[in-house]
Amino acid sequence: MASAIALDAVTKRYGSKTIIHDMSFTVEPGEIVGFLGPNGAGKTTTMRMIAGFTTATSGTVRVAGYDMATQNGEAAKRLGYLPEHPPLYDTLDVSSYLRFVASVKRVPRASVRAELDRVIDACRLEAVTTREIYKLSKGYRQRVGLAQALLGDPDVLLLDEPTAGLDPGQIQETREVIRNFGSRHAVLLSTHILPEVTLICRRVTIINQGRLLAVDSPAALQRASEQADRVTLVATAPESDLRAELLAVEGVIDVAIRPAGTDDGQLAVDCQTDAGEGVEARIARAVASRWSLHRLQREQPTLENVFLRYIQGGKQ
């Protein structure tokens, strides 16, 4: 059976600028794959090539076995796509909009009603079916976009940042929808939010600056992200003593100290730590027992930091 999505040596150039360099990966049926990268990494461009909105400069993109360069019509029938900006007609109401998409996707007339009910239910749109789209909040717009992609039960679902603009409750629900869908079909889900992929994806494809860095399990990514933990604090103390004290604390990997920029000589400290429990508490105890500690905070790892760790980890 053909891969749901297969990229082979895909390159995309706009003029002299190369956006995507020689990218290859596959997504198999029944698999949810995360497509992870910082903003501007080329996620949306890659999504658009898979969806057939733009064509690859070289290399082949196959969806359900069909070459997007020559058989995109066949592929389009098996594809559901939620672009980065939900493509909505503001003047239509939600159900007319979904009816339009259903008719283009050749949903048989007899089953349109049931199909609409299915996606409206899955995306929790019951309350707004008769409302014009321009009146909807950002969260609802995103979900109407998702509902549109789910219409016709496509084999392959492409979701470009599906949880952007949703509140935490809605994010939970949307992940549930994706997880349900992904148990039967192939899903490629782009995001720049780390926990998202670790929660719902089986595999993660990591890209940066248009290049594929790795295809790995969320667990490996989780390990990389744990090494990217940081604790920042502000204290009044002699710099060299403080550094020695902090490096002696269990779990601290590296320490950077600079003046906090206040008049009274406070120091701002940035500690790189492992992800072990209670690092911040040990640091707090060590500093506060000898000097005055003004502020202490454990930072969530940013994707950029994780990337850095990940790449460094790969080289070691």
Partner: protein, 235 residues
């Protein structure tokens, strides 16, 4: 075919849920009504000839307001990404949208037919001339819409699309006037052949010539083909 039908239905829903279609049709009917009263009642002749001439200029300037949103709006609302990734061919999108716009044109045209009531009540007009005038009018409108739709696909700015279309349409309208400045025979015939106004004049005088019909249909076909090819090329 079902792709064309789906696009057409969507277009019609969009027209009647936004004020622009109502506005254009209303302005057009007010203008056409004015020309009719002016030409018929003030001159006292029961003919549509003068009215058709005035209506056509009004049509050429109002068509860009109908056509400007056809693709520009899909770009700026980012719905083009949906259309181009759904199982639709570029020409299905083009034809579906075009048929929607032509429907608005037919509604505008049908609205002016109220003028015929007083014409037949109080006068004795030439029915054949009126029919041929209406045929010419619809063909002219179709050619203008196709050109406007093509230019709308080139920019995401509706105003820019409308302005380019107005310029091009007025160019085609007045190009016949260049005829008198030319010495070479083939330049003269070229300019008169390209003129929207001269072909339209034939219809208004009651001449339904196959050359005129072919001219407007070919212009429409060229514009729509360019339109569809451009969408494919953009991928």
């Amino acid at each position: 075919m079902s792709g064309i039908a789906a696009i057409y239905r969507k277009e019609m829903q969009t027209y009647f849920r936004s004020p622009i279609a109502y506005f254009v049709v209303a302005v057009y009917l007010v203008g056409a009504g004015y020309f009719f009263t002016y030409n018929v009642f003030l001159t006292g002749t029961a003919t549509m000839t003068e009215t058709f001439q005035s209506m056509s200029i009004l049509l050429v300037t109002l068509i860009p307001l109908v056509s400007m949103r056809l693709f520009s709006n899909e770009y700026s609302a980012r719905t083009m990404e949906l259309l181009m990734t759904l199982p639709l061919k570029a020409w299905e999108i083009v034809i579906g949208k075009y048929l929607g716009a032509v429907t608005i044109l037919l509604l505008m045209t049908a609205g002016t037919m109220i003028d015929l009531v007083p014409l037949y009540l109080y006068g004795n007009p030439e029915t054949k001339t009126i029919i041929s005038g209406y045929i010419g009018f619809v063909l002219l409108g179709m050619a203008c819409l196709a050109i406007g739709q093509f230019f709308s696909s080139l920019t995401q700015n509706q105003i820019v699309a409308a302005l380019i279309t107005v310029c091009v349409l007025l160019g085609f309208w007045f190009v016949g006037h260049l005829e008198g400045f030319q010495n070479s025979e083939w330049m003269r015939s070229l300019f008169s052949y390209l003129s929207f106004a001269l072909h339209f004049g034939d219809f208004v005088r009651g001449l339904v010539r196959s050359e005129g019909i072919a001219f407007y249909l070919i212009v429409s076909a060229i514009a729509l083909t360019l339109n569809a090819s451009y969408l494919e090329w953009r991928r």
